[in-house]
């Protein structure tokens, strides 16, 4: 068990594809990015409570606010998909795991897309209205 690698692989310096850390690392990167983004999103929602429908369009449709929300949605759903993947891999086994993993990835992409397109539509609406 001391060395599972062939002499040729060892001498050529072959090893893992160095991709094993990617999932773990992206989960942390998106977690760090989520700290300011969650704060910004909460502030935007609180601001929206102080105004009417036209005011909400004016707020969410502002390119800067909309850009923050789009960034937040992309980062949030990436983080959620990575986290759900770990939970599924820990508790679900067999064919169900396979389908759940794909289901989570597809739904995260779909729901994130609905959110992002919604923000873009509001930005366009505000720009054409004013």
């Amino acid at each position: 068990m001391s060395n599972m690698r062939s002499p040729l692989a060892r001498v050529k310096g072959l090893g893992s594809a160095k991709e094993g850390l990617h999932h773990w690392w992206m989960q942390r990167i998106t977690a760090i990015a989520n700290i300011p983004l969650v704060a910004a999103a909460i502030w935007i929602v609180l601001l929206s409570l102080r105004t009417d429908y036209a005011g909400v369009i004016n707020l969410v449709g502002h390119p800067c606010v909309g850009a923050i929300l789009i960034l937040f949605i992309a980062n949030l759903f990436y983080h959620a998909a990575l986290g759900l993947q770990v939970v599924i891999e820990d508790y679900v086994h067999g064919a169900a795991k396979f389908f759940l993993l794909i289901f989570v990835k597809f739904s995260a992409a779909l729901i994130a897309m609905i959110g992002i397109v919604s923000v873009i539509v509001v930005i366009v609406e505000r720009a054409s209205g004013s």
Binding site: M1, N34, L46, Y53, I73, G83, L84, I114, V122
Partner: protein
Amino acid sequence: MASNDGKSGGGVQRPLSPHLGVYKPQITSTLSILHRMTGVALSVGTLVLVYWLFAITSGPEAFAQMQSCFSSWIGRLLLFGWSFALFYHLCNGIRHLFWDAGKGYELETASKSGIAVVVVSIALTLGVWFCAYTGVGVL
């Protein structure tokens, strides 16, 4: 090497670690599973955010419907639980990032930071609902 037929143990009685149920729940283990549970709940809760944005796009009627949906007592209750889950997951996530940096592993520190996470997330939840109701601190 022994042949591997793909079956774990191969019929040999190997020692097993005790089942999770025999352990007394501790603040560290309870908060750990709570991090997972809030994470899963928040994943479903992302629908709230997308519904909010979709309602804004869909016009004044849809927006009013969304407002009445969220301002009902059940809507407020769900949003309150959702906001606590968010702040808990956020604060405990920062605690996890410190662990990733190799800090705060001492038993006493881990318990204290756990209590701090619960206190801060309750405070943030109450704070944000205070702001929501009064508009204080929101421009």
